[in-house]
Symmetry: C2
Subunit: 418 residues, 2 copies
């Protein structure tokens, strides 16, 4: 089997013909190395928004949500189809053999959860034959097909997942994600100019980073890469061909392949949280399951939870966070169960941010939390809620302190000196 | 089998969401009659041009013509996909059952002449089952799929052909083509305000009208309708639902179904011609076949041809017309064969127009040509070339006389008094 490589170009990397030609030059450079190439593309930047706006207008009087509609997928998937055809044309004009592949042609088999489908299978034979035969496969990302032959889409950022799934199916040596940043950073460089690009990061850390607000890769694509052990490299599409040396960008890989050991790899933040507080809860078993059961039934994801005894020893207070998008729905449910459960009052605070430190080194190192709390305390940042996993610690703070907290933690763990 | 109807909406009839909603109301009105409905849609007006412009840009350095490219089809077919999805969504929001069908889903099987593919087969079973079950099939026009599973398109105006092919496959009682005019006229109303809408026209006449410059229907769609005996109705999409009474628009049908007998049904014109003259041709056999053989090899269609003896009895002159689009290519060939064949000189005149009168009544009536030549002579219009078929007479004249000639002929055959 010849070596195979998957390359993926996001919307800003194929935003117009000039960018598509630039992407084609990067593909051409890899093609000259003799590897079999599959290239996954997003829609031209802005196109998906235009298509979604039309579906919104078409669904004005919709009873259901338009984004769970099979016809939504028919409309929105057309954006990637256009880019795939155009890039194939440009590659041919560069003298290369290339053809486009749509989701249904490969096929990328998905479930029928339209608008947020999951890939179930990617039969590799036809694609592998083309790629091994030296024809560059230009694949429309973001889209798949159900077993009934209807078009599906994978949700925002789904082209990353397409690329990883293709790489897994082809047993590619790597999946290169070309984007508008040149890798994964220790934190957001717009907040901390001393943020550094990580040359490598483990799947587990990347997964936490993506879930916790770093928007470099779609969370599901990282899950899939981890499950299938696909090395993923994030790099900038704004380099010139040939400049993409092996150490360019950030490689997302197995923990064991990372020589340099760090306790903390990055600091992430998210302003997409809302905090809901329930006051004066009756202190008896089953209260939590009542509340969170109802929220789960309504598809509201609850993230951080903390319960504390109120000053009067008879009752407790509870705080939890939900996504800002779900906040209104969550409050509606809280209001509905108030009398049933018998708590005294409730409040919502959308003026919060979640700041997290992530690192696989935490597993074997004590004192990580202590460093975090000390750094925040020194800057006068009040911690409202804490949640932890094996490799991350998240705190909820007042939103105004976000940048201060991020910079304090970045320095506290020595990330500016990597 | 329940009655089935095919409706087709062109680009201006689905140009934006407002128009798509208007189209949906027309569909809804037909749906309430209990007929099985298949609705064929074009791309939103302007979208195909945008997509074609991108393929032009992508093919800048193309060796071949981009419009014969399989990837051209991948890009351009996306326009109809969008409209099909949107109309299906709007129909659902009106409380109707509907789903979109793409070319590959039906499938509309085509040959692999990309950019101008011909439909080879439309297996009707899946579509018929849906339609008979009361689900409106919203079909992306203009597109099909090869036996290899690649997307094809049918050439400009191809959605008309899609609609007729679907109507034939479904054995629909009729194919209604909703467009921006309210029928087929005796001539172009922009030139002759007394032009009248024909309530019926035969396939043969419509075919000549379409070939000779009337742009209401794609020529191939009329050929197909004639071959498959599909009644086609051309009508305006700018009527209100319910106003589309049975005698609205123009019905294209078998000659025998037309009660009112006319000798001439319409006057058509085209300014897309160029006249090429060869002077001083050697007068021996085989000269014509040499010239026209070379033109045919280069895919240049020759329309009218006339040969005349030159003043010196040893040589002949020849005049013929080609499409303006092919003129440069034709002249190149003429120049190349000049020495080989040994004619003295050549000239091209693009300042010409072809004006034609069409009518199945000509078969049984003498004197039609005489009326034509007399009417033109009275207005001082000089005839350069004449060509005839069983049901039409065309003359080539100086372009400046086009409107004058059209009006003179329209009056001469009493078409303003239908």
């Amino acid at each position: 089997m010849p070596a195979r490589l998957v390359m993926k170009f996001g919307g800003t990397s194929v935003a117009d013909l000039e960018r598509i030609r630039r992407a084609a030059r990067l593909v051409a450079a890899e093609a000259r190395d003799g590897r079999g190439l599959a290239v996954v593309v997003s829609a031209m930047a802005g196109k998906t928004n235009e298509l979604v706006a039309w579906t919104d207008a078409a669904g004005l009087a919709a009873q259901g949500l338009p984004d769970s509609d099979d016809e939504y997928d028919v409309v929105v998937a057309s954006g990637e189809q256009v880019t795939a055809g155009l890039l194939a044309m440009v590659l041919r004009n560069e003298g290369l053999r290339a053809r486009s592949w749509l989701g249904w042609q490969i096929p990328i088999l998905c479930d029928d959860a339209h608008g947020r489908a999951r890939i179930e299978d990617v039969p590799p034979d036809a694609l592998a034959a083309a790629v091994d035969g030296g024809e560059i496969a230009v694949i429309a990302g973001f889209q798949g097909v159900t077993s009934e032959g209807r078009i599906t889409t994978l949700g925002r950022g789904g082209s990353d997942t397409s690329a990883v799934a293709i790489a897994a199916a082809l047993r590619a040596e790597r999946c290169d994600i070309y984007t508008d940043v040149d890798g994964v950073y220790t934190t957001d460089p717009r907040i901390e100019s001393r943020a550094r690009r990580l040359s490598r990061i483990s799947y587990e850390e990347m997964l936490e980073m993506a879930s916790l607000g770093a928007k470099v890769l779609q969370t599901r694509s990282v899950e899939l890469a981890m499950a299938q052990r696909v090395p993923v490299r994030v790099l900038s599409s704004f380099v010139e061909p040939g400049e993409a040396a092996p150490d360019t960008g950030t490689l997302v890989c197995d923990e064991e392949e990372i020589v340099e050991k760090r306790i903390v790899s990055g600091v992430a933040y998210s302003r997409d949280e809302a905090k809901i507080t329930l006051l004066g809860l009756p202190d008896h078993p089953g209260v939590s399951s009542q509340i969170f059961g109802r929220l789960a039934d309504a598809n509201v994801n609850v993230d951080m939870i903390v319960q504390s005894r109120a000053r009067t020893a008879e009752t407790a207070n509870m705080e939890f966070t939900v996504g800002k998008r779900d906040a209104a729905r969550a409050i509606e449910i809280v209001r509905a169960v108030k009398d049933e459960i018998g708590f005294e009052d409730f409040a919502i605070d959308e003026d919060v941010a979640k700041v997290s430190v992530i690192g696989v080194g935490m597993r074997s190192h004590a004192g990580v939390a202590k460093t975090m709390f000390k750094a925040l305390a020194e800057r006068g940042v009040n911690i409202q809620v804490i949640s932890t996993s094996e490799i991350k610690i998240s705190v909820l703070i007042e939103a105004a302190y976000t940048e201060l907290a991020v910079r304090a933690l970045h320095a506290a763990y020595g990330l500016d000196q990597l």
